[in-house]
């Protein structure tokens, strides 16, 4: 792909994510999706920039806020939406739901809703690639809040001493649920912590999908060349509450999120920023851009229809997949 077509693909995936998330919100409001729902709206830049730096056979781990991530990795939308709606055709058969999407067919090998718990797993997938002599890499998303979990430390150290091909991507959206990052985190930049593992650490503008792409591409190259892991901190923002049903923009524990702060970030919307680049720098025609936008709406609508038309799981399904066979 040339850089033009990569940028177009980025734009397409970012739009898909935004529309997918909006649809999910609506369905949750109508009671068609049950359980918690953590929107990634606002974070599409870092999600897509990072995932597009991977090959299809590379691994990717998400967390509780990762609807967008399998989409960025190339997953079909229908089974994802069906999963949110608890259908048998869901990508996880309706068993995982919103916080546990995975589409192994595109290297999306899991999302875990226990904060920080995906980091050792991602390191382990990288270890397997290394042991199997494959040049695959593993990309692990985690939040600013997760950077205070012990698993962060253990995974970083393990990856460093074993030179594992893993990229730890911190989605620093400044808050962990109702808690501002700086109220509970002893450093300004989480990337600084890379020093404690003799690992490269870098801050990147998470709203600039192209910058994220470049930064992750370099880390992936390092990893594939056997030079070991990297820590990348993408500064980003979630537009929505921590999760649905938790009050406007979350009930932030130490004073709320200010209107100025929200406005500041919305002015740097990752989709808008890329659109500007497409139009002004890459000379893409407005109608080509609109075509992508329209197609995204349609694709999400189709995904919704797929989910709606799909059957629910049956009683027996509750008992399979605990083990491989029944025991």
């Amino acid at each position: 792909m040339n850089s033009n077509s990569i940028a177009m693909e980025m734009y397409r995936r970012m739009n898909l994510i935004r529309r997918f998330e909006e649809m999910a919100e609506q369905l949750h409001a109508k009671g068609k999706i049950v359980g918690s729902l953590h929107s990634s709206i606002g974070q599409e830049g870092e999600i897509v920039g990072a995932c597009l730096a991977l090959r299809a056979d590379d691994y990717m781990m998400g967390n509780h806020r990762s609807h967008g991530h399998p989409i960025a990795k190339g997953a079909k939308l229908g089974p994802l939406m069906a999963e949110l709606m608890g259908r048998k055709t869901g990508v996880c058969g309706g068993k995982g739901g919103s916080m546990h999407l995975a589409d192994f067919s595109v290297g999306s090998i899991g999302e875990t809703s226990i904060v920080g718990s995906g980091m050792p797993v991602a390191a382990g997938a990288a270890l397997a690639a290394k042991l199997q002599g494959l040049d695959r890499v593993s990309l692990c998303f985690f939040g600013d809040g997760a950077s205070n979990e012990g698993t962060f430390h253990e995974s970083m150290n393990l990856a460093a001493v074993w030179k594992l091909p893993v990229i730890f991507l911190c989605e620093n959206n400044l808050y962990a649920a109702a808690t501002p990052m700086l109220a509970v985190t002893s450093v300004q930049d989480i990337a600084v912590r890379a020093n404690g593992y003799d690992m490269p650490g870098q801050v990147v503008d998470g709203q600039d999908v192209l910058a994220v792409y470049d930064c992750v591409t370099a880390a992936v190259a390092r990893a594939r060349a056997g030079e070991g892991p990297s820590l990348i901190e993408a500064k980003t923002y979630r537009y929505r509450d921590h999760a649905v049903n938790m009050g406007e923009l979350g009930k932030v524990d130490l004073g709320g999120r200010s209107d100025e702060e929200v406005a500041h970030w919305k002015a740097r919307d990752p989709i808008k920023l890329l659109r500007n680049v497409l139009v002004n720098e890459l000379g893409v025609a407005e109608q080509d851009i609109e075509a992508i936008e329209q197609a995204a709406i349609q694709e999400v609508e189709d995904a919704h229809q797929f989910a709606v038309d799909s059957p629910l799981p049956s009683t027996d399904d509750a008992f399979t997949d605990v083990f491989i066979g029944t025991i």
Binding site: M99, A176, V252, T315
Partner: protein, 320 residues
């Protein structure tokens, strides 16, 4: 006396005990979210109401250390599934310190853990892990099943000089009940006979108690007299009330929303099969969640849990 919710009962217990004892303090993640800390920062200040990083082992271990050094932490673990990252601090430190140090250490701390099942949040958020802690000596465990018990048991737990785990059934959050405004405590280790009966004993834990009562009410219409017992605390466990009831009824159904294997239901069954065998007139039936994980899809989640119908069927089985 007012009708307040289960959540409000938690808050009332904490507030009253924080007023009573200046060595108490609260900590946990995102305390503002759940409604169990409303007004506390304003009344007691941010030093005594501490918002933690997402570091369960760190702050639960810190609670142990603070308790050893003379404070009385009340820790909001929020969802009980989040205790696993701190498991070592709970099992190796909190449960064992007093013993290891030959009684020199005192660990007056409370861990509050929500049982967050039935909400479509899938296997990683829906745990009911109290049985695994019942197998660890040194931890007291309470499982309040209504607002009145919640306030009285939690106040006892906060005053207790041993570590207490309080498992809170979040399905009861909005349940209302009469709760005295003034100070009262319910001692740990005293079961509640929710309903007297003579034909069968139903022991039910936490959120299962209301289903057991519903089942007993329905059975009464068919002429079956069921006694419903809520142990209220699992450690210490009120063996006497249980065995007395079996002596009377000769039949036992145990209702526990934990997974079946090595559940509290299994333990209670084993106690009775050992100590009251000659009183038994029928098999002991456990009504539990089967040994599968909790799926997201609401279409298949709810059927997994014990409910009134399953309890009634179990009772009938003991009578047949």
């Amino acid at each position: 006396m007012a009708k307040i919710t289960y959540i409000q009962a938690i808050l009332a217990a904490i507030r009253e005990e924080m007023r009573r004892d200046p060595t108490t303090f609260v900590m946990g993640e995102d305390l503002s979210i759940w409604g169990t800390a409303d007004g506390l920062p304003e009344e007691f200040g941010r030093e005594r109401v501490r918002n933690t990083p997402i570091s369960e082992a760190g702050f639960i271990g810190a609670a142990a250390g603070a308790a050893v050094a003379g404070s009385r932490p009340i820790v909001d673990v929020t969802i009980s599934s989040f205790v696993y990252p701190a498991m070592d601090q709970v099992v190796s430190i909190i449960a064992k310190s007093r013993y290891l140090y030959g009684g020199q250490a005192k660990l007056p701390l409370v861990l509050r853990l929500g049982l967050y099942y039935g909400l479509g949040v899938a296997a990683q958020h829906s745990d009911r892990p109290y049985p695994m802690f019942m197998g660890v000596p040194g931890l007291k465990i309470i499982t309040p099943s209504n607002p009145y018990d919640m306030k009285g048991l939690l106040k006892s737990a906060i005053r207790d000089d041993d570590p207490v785990m309080c498992f809170e059934d979040t399905n009861l959050w909005s349940q209302r009940g009469e709760v005295p405004d003034d100070d009262y405590v319910i001692p740990l280790g005293k079961a509640n006979i929710c309903r007297e009966g003579t034909d069968v004993t139903i022991v039910a834990i936490s959120g299962m108690v209301r289903h057991a009562i519903d089942a007993a009410d329905a059975l009464a219409k068919d002429g079956v007299s069921a006694e419903v017992i809520d142990p209220r605390s699992l450690v210490p466990f009120d063996r006497e009330t249980l065995l007395d009831s079996i002596k009377k009824t000769g039949r036992l159904v145990v209702v526990d929303v934990a997974h079946r294997s090595c559940s509290v239901a299994s333990e209670i069954s084993a106690i009775v099969a050992e100590e009251a065998f000659w009183d038994l007139r029928a098999p002991i039936i456990r009504v539990t969640t089967p040994d599968t994980h909790i799926p997201h899809s609401p279409a298949i989640e709810h059927m997994l849990y014990p409910d009134k119908t399953k309890i009634m069927a179990a009772v009938r089985q003991t009578l047949s």
